[in-house]
């Protein structure tokens, strides 16, 4: 280009400059990552929608386009009932979990309940464990004939018959309720703890008593958090497969998830009908998540002033011992009793409802964990290997993806970042089983079907947003000027990431990694849809044992999984600190 043309017509030069400006390292990476995420997230959902309009003929060979599947889910003898059951379970679970979560968070954060600092980690344990395992444990305790608790009551109080029966829809509500209580807890505890105490003090000096102050000031102030938590619990329980599968489906209370499962595998599999049910479920959950993000989360009140406030809490008087007892009771039913019952059952060769000290054996652990021994059960030992592999690789890939995506959304803020933000929310709105249905119908004809890779794909697509949120919250708290100064000093974008941003985010990355590791180790509802012989996961192993073997074997593998989760939880708290998960 001569200086003459430059002078007379600068336009082409400016155009190419602009083009070159777009062609930067960060934009290239954004586009690539966006494309990957978009394909991973959007493709299964599109296939799901398309499949729902394909109706399988009676012979199960050919399909035609129609709304037939949607008619079927309304007219079928079972599906509408499953719908209703799901609704009852979700409502009950939401009420129970919200009550438990809010009351526990309140006693730990705002009152002088004894031991409230060391109680908190115990209150959160169910968050890291599998509700499916919880259902198995509670089945061992609350089964009418052989349940440990029922036997205990019979022995001690001489009661005829049974005191509790966990094998019904109420049992599902009970187990999901106590296991999802920490979700609500985490949504409210942060704002309760940071709340300016003079908001409550001024209600007291204005003449309101302790109860009235709590009801009219404290709780309304955290109401957006409570509602958010409640919606998340509703959505999570709607997608919960393991608990109704164990506790209610065998006794006549099908739910949407157990119905979707039967349409995905087994003799009367009908992927198109399954996709339609998944669509219906997904539509509800996505709508609720949208409400939460659009209307409820932004309404949270700014209750922190930061100026001259003291960490003071409500004096409950002698009621504090009631609060303490209540908290201990929660830990007992949610953590201690289930683990003890699993341990007891797992040590028996067969389980008949009574503890027999002379029969105690470790054979169940040999069969489920010792893969090198001949008598080991493949489904269980495969599950351990596969789950560790999936959790390790899945968490690693997810965190890389999460890191890049968070950076794109919160730092680059240009090109396509709004799209990425949207794509990161979508999977959160879809229950695992719905997404798995989509993945199944999308990839069933490809070579990755029936391999571990399809599981990996499902895991990452569904759960990488969790890691992304973990990183984003830290990224937002780190000043942008830190990496801008690096660029100013002459470093490229990649160098800046490597030398400045990633080291700053390291604790967050590790914490997110462990969180995903736990989620993957216990994952059931995606795995159950996508596994085949040889690609069982830990939770599928448990499913296999509870279905085809006996309770003691199931308990042994369940306990192994629980132990793994507990170890991860301790590591997570070490790395991420106490406040890490709270909203």
């Amino acid at each position: 280009m001569t200086s003459e043309t430059y002078d007379t017509d600068p336009r082409p030069s400016r155009m190419s400059n602009r083009f070159r400006a777009l062609w930067t390292q960060e934009n290239v990476i954004t586009i690539i990552v966006s494309a990957i995420v978009a394909i991973a997230v959007v493709l299964p959902l599109i296939t799901l929608v398309v499949s729902s309009f394909l109706v399988l003929d009676d012979l199960g060979f050919s399909t035609e386009w129609s709304f037939g599947n949607y008619v079927t889910i309304v007219t079928d003898p079972i599906i509408p009932k499953a719908f209703l059951n799901t609704l009852i379970i979700c409502s009950g679970c939401t009420v129970l979990a919200t009550f438990l979560g809010v009351s526990l968070a309140w006693t730990n954060a705002r009152t002088n309940c004894p031991g409230r600092t060391w109680l908190e980690p115990f209150n959160l344990i169910p968050f890291f464990l599998s509700p499916f395992i919880g259902a198995i444990a509670w089945h061992n305790m609350g089964e009418p004939k052989t349940g440990l608790l029922n036997n205990f009551f019979r022995d001690i109080f001489g009661i005829e018959g049974h005191v509790i029966n966990i094998d019904n829809i109420w049992g599902v509500i009970w187990v999901t309720g106590i296991f999802f209580a920490p979700l609500v807890y985490l949504f409210v505890v942060g704002s309760l703890r940071r709340m300016d105490p003079s908001l409550e003090d001024s209600a007291r000096t204005t003449g309101a008593g302790l109860f009235r102050t709590t009801m009219t000031v404290t709780l309304p102030l955290v109401m957006p958090g409570i509602l958010s938590g409640a919606i998340i619990v509703f959505v999570t329980s709607a997608g919960e497969f393991g608990v109704p599968f164990k506790l209610s489906a065998p006794y006549g209370w099908e739910t949407l998830t157990t119905q979707i499962f039967t349409k995905a595998v087994g003799d009367d599999a009908n992927h198109y009908l399954g996709a339609t049910m998944a669509m219906a479920l997904g539509a509800i959950t996505v709508f609720l998540i949208w409400i939460q993000r659009r209307y409820i989360a932004p309404r949270s009140f700014e209750t922190v002033t930061g100026k001259g406030f003291r960490p003071n809490v409500l004096d409950l008087g002698s009621w504090k011992w009631v609060a303490f007892g209540y908290n201990i009771l929660f830990i007992l039913v949610a953590v201690i009793l289930p683990i003890i019952s699993l341990l007891i059952v797992s040590l028996h060769p067969v389980w008949q409802g009574t503890i027999m000290l002379d029969k105690i054996t470790g054979i169940n652990y040999v069969k489920t964990l010792f893969f090198w021994r001949e008598e080991s059960i493949d489904a269980a030992t495969n599950g351990i290997f596969n789950s560790l592999f999936l959790a390790f690789v899945g968490a690693s890939i997810s965190m890389v993806l999460a890191l890049v995506v968070s950076y794109m959304i919160h730092r680059t803020k240009g090109f396509g970042s709004w799209l990425l933000d949207f794509l990161c929310v979508v999977p959160i709105g879809f229950p695992g089983i719905v997404l798995a249905m989509g993945v199944l119908v999308t990839y069933i004809q490809t070579p990755i079907y029936a391999t571990l890779w399809i599981l990996l794909l499902g895991y990452i697509t569904r759960f990488f947003p969790y890691g992304q949120r973990n990183i984003a919250s830290i990224l937002l708290s780190i000043s942008e000027e830190l990496d801008q100064s690096s660029r100013m000093a002459g470093a490229t974008w990649v160098t800046t990431m490597r030398r400045i941003t990633i080291p700053l985010l390291k604790p967050g990355i590790f914490a997110g990694w462990i969180l995903l590791f736990v989620i993957f180790v216990r994952e059931l509802s995606i795995s159950i849809m996508l596994y085949t012989d040889g690609t069982e996961t830990l939770a599928v192993g448990v499913y296999y044992l509870t279905n085809y073997e006996n309770e003691p074997l199931t308990a042994a593998l369940s306990l192994a999984q629980t132990l793994l989760c507990l170890i991860c939880m301790i590591a997570f708290r070490r790395l991420a600190g106490k406040e890490a998960l709270s909203a």
């Binding site: 001024s202 000096t205 003449g207 002033t305 001259g308």
Partner: protein
């Protein structure tokens, strides 16, 4: 809003103690606050003002002493009496406003009346009147989150007076406001207090606030009352060096009594840079012994600065010093002078050209130099 003249609204605090673990926040606090009086607790950060106030409010349990509101014993360590804050019929305004963000302005103010189960029409009438008093009646339906700092503080004020409590407590209500607004709110609170005639206890660490607003000031330091008195009294006759230094600007000179007649003391100031000690005469309470160590307090406005040695200074104290620096403060000039190692602040309103290290002569009357026993 009429004052409740028939209700006895004095506040009597005797021997109040409060500890937080090993730390003493308030020690042996005694005062009788008259009905309708406006009393300020003044002191540096951490001296226990808020703690005292919160003990009166019932937000903190005393570790010793009694608190009476009127003739009602609301807290007593010895007799194990403790009334909850909601049962004390008081109003309180907090530093952080503490206006509830989930309610409208009207609901915030009406809260105390609803708690007291007032009738619907009465709630409306009294709430609107309280809002009128603070000039916010036009914002009644607005959510508290959409208010400015000053407006929030007005809501907090209206909320605290609407149910006509016996006593109203203020914990640094103005410290989050900017300077202009602070002055305006200050005057408004005083006007309102006089209008309603309510007994008030006001906590601040801003001395000008305390001096302008109060009938009486309680100066505290390190958990202990240093002096109680009306503003003029405290300014003119500080009880000790801390009060003198804390209230207004003052120069404190360390010295020793070498002789006295009645309340006039002869004081020797050691020369810090060596050489002859300085002598001066100061006024003080009677009874300060010979040879005792004292502080001499000098207000900047009481010292005259001369560039030449004055000839008519027989009855005045005369000190010779060197100018350290001068600062323009708008309407006057503040000058620091070094007198043999002692630093003295002077306020001058006629502008002189003073240069650094220039020799100057300071004169002041013995009545203006306060001799304060340690």
């Amino acid at each position: 809003m009429s004052s409740n003249n028939n209700i006895d609204a004095t506040v009597r605090i005797s021997g109040l103690d409060k500890h937080f673990g090993p730390e003493t926040a308030v020690l042996d606090f005694n005062i009788l606050i008259e009905q309708g009086e406006f009393v300020t607790l003044l002191g540096p950060s951490g001296c226990g003002k808020t703690t005292t106030l919160r003990c009166v409010a019932g937000l903190e349990r005393p570790d010793g002493g009694d608190i009476f509101i009127g003739d009602q014993l609301v807290a007593s360590y010895e007799q194990d009496v403790y009334l909850n804050p909601e049962d004390r019929n008081i109003g309180m305004v907090f530093q952080s406003y503490a206006v509830w963000p989930h309610m409208t302005v009207f609901d915030n103010v009406a809260y105390g009346l609803r708690v007291r189960r007032a009738g619907k029409s009465e709630i409306k009438k009294r709430t609107m009147r309280a809002l009128e008093l603070v000039g916010l009646d036009h914002l009644a339906d607005r959510y508290a989150t959409k208010l400015s700092g000053g407006q929030r503080q007005r809501v907090a004020l209206a909320r605290a007076i609407v149910y006509e409590p016996r006593v109203i407590l203020f914990d640094e209500p103005l410290s989050n406001l900017d300077a202009k607004l602070r002055e305006q709110m200050r005057d408004e609170i005083v006007r309102l207090q006089k209008e309603v005639g309510i007994t008030s206890i006001f906590v601040t660490h801003d001395q000008s606030e305390a001096l302008v607003m109060s009938d009486r000031v309680v100066v505290m330091d390190k958990a202990v009352i240093q002096q109680v008195g009306d503003p003029q009294d405290i300014y003119a006759n500080p009880a000790n060096a801390f009060v003198a230094n804390f209230i207004g600007v003052t120069s404190l000179l360390k010295g020793r009594v070498i002789g006295h007649s009645n309340s006039i003391y002869d004081i020797e100031l050691p020369s810090i840079i060596g050489g002859e000690p300085l002598r001066l005469r100061a006024t003080g309470e009677t009874g300060i012994g010979e040879e005792s160590e004292v502080h001499v307090s000098l207000r900047p406005e009481d010292v005259t600065l001369n560039t030449d040695k004055p000839s008519d200074a027989e009855n005045l104290n005369l000190l010779e010093g060197k100018v350290i620096d001068t600062v323009y403060l708008g309407s006057f000039l503040e000058c620091r002078v070094d007198v043999k190692g002692h630093e003295i602040n002077i306020q001058i309103d006629h502008f002189e050209n003073l240069s650094r290290d220039q020799t100057v002569f300071l004169t002041f009357r013995a009545e203006h130099a306060l001799c304060l026993a340690n």
